[in-house]
């Protein structure tokens, strides 16, 4: 009990610290139609929060994904992925360079309805309930290709903007206090 409390406090702290450094990213991966289930385009889009160090993003949270515009069912498990064994770990890493990326997003590791992973140079996405006219799910599998991948930070206020806003709020507060004292 004591341990759990400590752990929760620790994780809450970590989340707080993490969120302090987290950035929201947008991404998109478009499979070559030659590498999809029915020869038609399969594009995964989405966002996630993560901490960027150098060209690697880790501590991934708050992901939301779409397959050809249809949302992944969730909530989503996020982790690293071993493409040989299928084992999922906690260490998701995402980069603009897919060769350095290792991640999986899935709603269920035992019986997934949808998933998207890039690992060991391979990209795989499937959404079992988004069916084509032949009842085949929406699916793509190919060698992970940077040309098919976009990754960018979402537009958020810069720190200077926060300082300016804080200064403005302080000034407003100061003026208001002077007025009340007067």
């Amino acid at each position: 009990m004591h341990f759990l409390k400590a752990a929760l406090l620790g994780s809450a702290f970590a989340a707080l610290v993490g969120s302090a450094h987290a950035t929201t990213f947008n991404f998109s991966y478009s499979f070559d139609p030659a590498n999809t289930g029915n020869g038609e385009a399969v594009t995964i889009t989405g966002t996630f929060d993560g901490v960027e160090v150098g060209d690697l993003i880790s501590s991934i949270t708050n992901a939301s994904l779409f397959v050809n515009g249809t949302a992944f069912s969730g909530p989503l498990t996020i982790g690293g992925f071993n493409s040989s064994t299928g084992e999922v770990s906690s260490n998701a890493v995402i980069s603009a360079d897919l060769g350095k990326s290792n991640f999986i997003f899935t709603d269920n590791t035992s019986s997934p309805n949808n998933l998207f992973w890039v690992a060991d140079g391979t990209a795989f996405a499937v959404k079992y309930d988004l069916l084509d006219v032949n009842n085949n799910g929406t699916i793509g599998f190919e060698d992970a290709t940077n040309a098919h991948w976009t990754l960018s930070a979402a537009a958020v206020p810069e720190p200077a903007t926060y300082l300016l806003m804080a200064g403005g709020l302080a000034a407003i507060g100061f003026v208001s206090r002077r007025r009340r004292q007067a």
């Binding site: 030659a34 064994t85 906690s90 997934p112 032949n134 085949n136 699916i139 599998f141």
Partner: protein, 740 residues
């Protein structure tokens, strides 16, 4: 597949640290039963077989080619109801140009590739619809993780695993291992896309794939025309054409000139009689001609084409029948210094059969192999010629202790008698393919004719032949091939004229007395010699049969229970020339008989192009036909007394190797198509059958034991059988070729 797994934890809003603790994806927490969805990333693969060019002209004949291939444009689906069809509502996709496909399913199910004629194989149009399958268990066994697609190949070989599971009521693990064991490969290699394999594994898988592709194409053909209820049933039927199961290898041991009464129960043939009683026997087996050459020619192609003698294959070969061999045998080749072969042979009857179907080229056309193994040829000789005398090759006379030649009370043979190798131990008249020009012209002809060991002069031949012994000469390629497995699907095992009971004159000199003497066991005896008459040559042949059978039975392929192998022990002819001496495609009259009917634009017509045709196919009584298989579960000690002949055997071989379609009589070669139904439907064109009093006796059928003799029917027999004619049906109707 329903799997009981723990409900996974989710992590979306938790920190990475806590997530790591909870992300033990499959640690038990809350048991729920769920269906595991599956994605298959596969390829529809097989082989592109380019059939050989069969031609009488050697320069035009070409060997077959086989390449690993992929099928593009095939409909791939999860066949949830396992009916071999991609039904409406079943998840499907189409294989791409590289044969690949991606397909998802909410739960694993059997997977099939429906390959229509709109698809391509190796870039070439598919000419016959076929369906390839993958067992559901193969898919489930390949699932490593729900997050990983299953990688597999849909191939003719994977289809065979499914068929075996369904035929035997077993499972994927059992049958994939069995098939791998049959091919001598791992399961992974066996079920791989052949494009990804190399070396022996690739060769083995491609060879099997070609054979299976033919079967599955036939399966879809009979399913599509409604002969059977479904593709699933059709694939079983395709492996049992007319009730004849597919064998991997059959060895036909050819013996000479002995009627049933000379062998059955003979004390001079204890081994053959033992094999007959241990294995299965066809007790009403009829020769088709007289003497040897027409019988062997009939065994090669279900007709003797009017040949009624043992003359050389180039005899009477003029005009359109002119010999086209390149080169024609000559005496300059090794072993032919004293060859009896003559480049010309004027005779009225043509012995060079041109442009006719035969079992050899039929096998080659299906990507299957044939071999003839012949004993006691001169080293390196051209097998289109008879073997020659070699006085530099000497062997001692065989000596038989008392009690080893029937009831002999004293030894037979002279231990001091030295016998030079005589001429004619090997005879071309005993080669079932020799008369066919397009067999001799085939690129594989030379390689497919091989040596057979066990001969009296073998050791001396290698050591002291007067002829140049080729480097690396293997005097017993049969033994070598048995060890390696490089035998044919059909193997004619042809002993020399002493070991086959034929008999020739073999004389030599007693080294102590310097007097001439005759070999103890190569003097011929009558075709209908009494079973009690002293017949050392029968014992010699009987011993040789034992030598060959034991050699085959000791081979890795025979001992591999996953390979289906059979040994036939048979004679070319019996003795009867009158009465019921001929059955099953018979030709009793010498006039108004033409070569087998031909089909033109869907209509049958007579073929009067073979001069003297009516002289042949007149039968020569009954002889032994025994059958041994390596299948432990196969029924044994069975007797089938139905009427069969060489034509029946050729039809049986066509069924065994999937070379013909019973619904198309003209797909059977030559006289093997003359079933009772075929004769009845073409009777106006077949005057030789107009006077038939017993349509069953006179017509051809596969050796499948399906006919039930009426209870009041007394069987016809030739007069060279020493058992009473049977009345009524056999004790049972079990197919003697059955595998289980």
């Amino acid at each position: 597949m329903n799997k009981t797994l723990r409900k996974p934890a989710t992590l979306g809003v938790l920190s990475a640290a806590v997530g790591a603790a909870l992300f033990a994806a499959y640690a038990p927490a809350q048991a729920v039963t769920i269906a595991t969805p599956v994605t298959v990333k596969g390829v529809v693969a097989g082989t592109l077989f380019t059939a050989p060019v069969i031609s009488d002209t050697p320069s035009l004949a070409k060997a077959s080619q086989t390449a690993a291939s992929v099928y593009a444009g095939a409909t791939v689906c999860f066949d949830a109801n396992n009916n071999g069809v991609c039904d409406a509502g079943e998840t499907s996709t189409v294989s791409k140009a590289d044969g690949s496909f991606l397909i998802t399913g909410r739960a694993p199910a059997p997977l099939i590739a429906d390959i229509s004629t709109k698809a391509t194989n190796g870039g070439k149009p598919v000419v016959q619809h076929l369906v390839l399958r993958v067992a559901q268990e193969q898919i489930t066994s390949a699932i490593k993780s729900p997050a990983l697609p299953v990688s597999l190949a849909v191939t003719p070989v994977s289809t065979e695993v499914v068929r075996m599971i369904e035929a035997n009521g077993t499972n994927y693990a059992t049958e994939s291992a069995a098939l791998a064991g049959r091919l001598g490969l791992t399961v992974s290699e066996t079920l791989a896309d052949p494009n990804t394999l190399s070396g022996n594994a690739k060769t083995a898988v491609m060879t099997e794939s070609v054979a299976l592709t033919n079967r599955w194409a036939y399966a879809s053909k009979i399913a599509d025309r409604g002969d059977v209820a479904s593709v699933v049933a059709a694939e079983q039927a395709a492996m049992n054409v007319e009730g004849i199961p597919r064998y991997d290898h059959i060895f036909v041991i050819m013996l000479e000139n002995k009627a049933t009464l000379s062998i059955k129960g003979s004390a001079y043939a204890p081994n053959i009689n033992r094999y007959l009683s241990q294995g299965n026997q066809f007790t009403s087996y009829f020769a088709t001609g007289n003497p040897s050459e027409p019988n062997y020619t009939a065994l090669g192609g279900a007709d003797d084409w009017g040949i009624t003698d043992d003359n050389q294959w180039n005899c009477g070969a003029t005009g359109a029948n002119a010999v086209q061999d390149l080169p024609t045998p000559d005496k300059s080749q090794p072993g032919l210094g004293s060859s009896p072969f003559n480049a010309t042979c004027a005779q009225a009857t043509n012995h060079n059969i041109v442009g006719r179907a035969n079992i050899f080229n039929a096998l080659s056309s299906a990507g299957l192999k044939w071999r003839t193994y012949s004993e006691s040829m001169n080293p390196g000789q051209d097998f289109r010629t008879d073997s020659a005398t070699d006085n530099a090759v000497k062997a001692m006379d065989h000596v038989y202790a008392p009690g080893t030649v029937g009831p002999n009370a004293s030894a037979i043979g002279n231990p001091n008698l030295q016998l030079p190798m005589p001429a004619g131990l090997y005879k071309t008249k005993h080669h079932p393919g020799m008369a066919y020009q397009n067999v001799r012209s085939a690129p594989e002809f030379k390689a497919n004719n091989r040596t057979l060991g066990g001969g009296q002069w073998d050791a001396a031949m290698v050591a002291s032949s007067a002829y140049a012994v080729p480097a690396g000469y293997d005097i017993d390629q049969f033994g070598t091939d048995l060890e390696s497995g490089d035998v044919g699907q059909l193997n004619f095992v042809v002993p020399d004229q002493c070991d086959d009971m034929h008999g020739i004159s073999v004389s030599g000199t007693d080294l102590s007395t310097k007097k001439s003497g005759t070999a103890s066991d190569c003097s011929s005896v009558s075709n209908a010699v009494s079973a009690s008459a002293v017949s050392p040559i029968i014992t010699r042949g009987d011993n040789y049969v034992r030598y060959v059978v034991e050699k085959i039975e000791a081979s890795p392929l025979w001992r591999n229970p996953n390979k289906r192998a059979a040994i036939v022990i048979m004679f070319d002819e019996g003795n009867a020339t009158s009465g019921f001496n001929s059955c099953c495609g018979w030709n009793p009259v010498s006039t108004n008989v033409d070569a087998p009917l031909v089909a033109s634009n869907g209509a049958a017509s007579r073929d009067a192009t073979v001069a003297g045709y009516g002289s042949g196919n007149k039968g020569h009584g009954e002889s032994i036909f025994g059958l041994l298989t390596n299948q432990a579960a196969a029924p044994k000690q069975l007797v089938d007394s139905d009427y069969y002949s060489h034509f029946s055997f050729v039809r049986t071989l066509q069924d065994m190797f999937g070379l013909a379609d019973p619904a198309d009589p003209f797909s059977y070669m030559n006289r093997s198509k003359y079933t009772q139904a075929f004769i009845a439907s073409n009777l106006t064109l077949l005057p030789e059958y107009a006077g038939s009093a017993d349509g069953h006796f006179d017509s051809v059928r596969p050796m499948n034991h399906s006919y039930v003799f009426p209870s009041n029917y007394t069987q016809k027999q030739s007069n060279d059988v020493n058992t009473p004619a049977q009345t009524g049906p056999d004790a049972n109707q079990i197919n003697l070729w059955s595998l289980k």
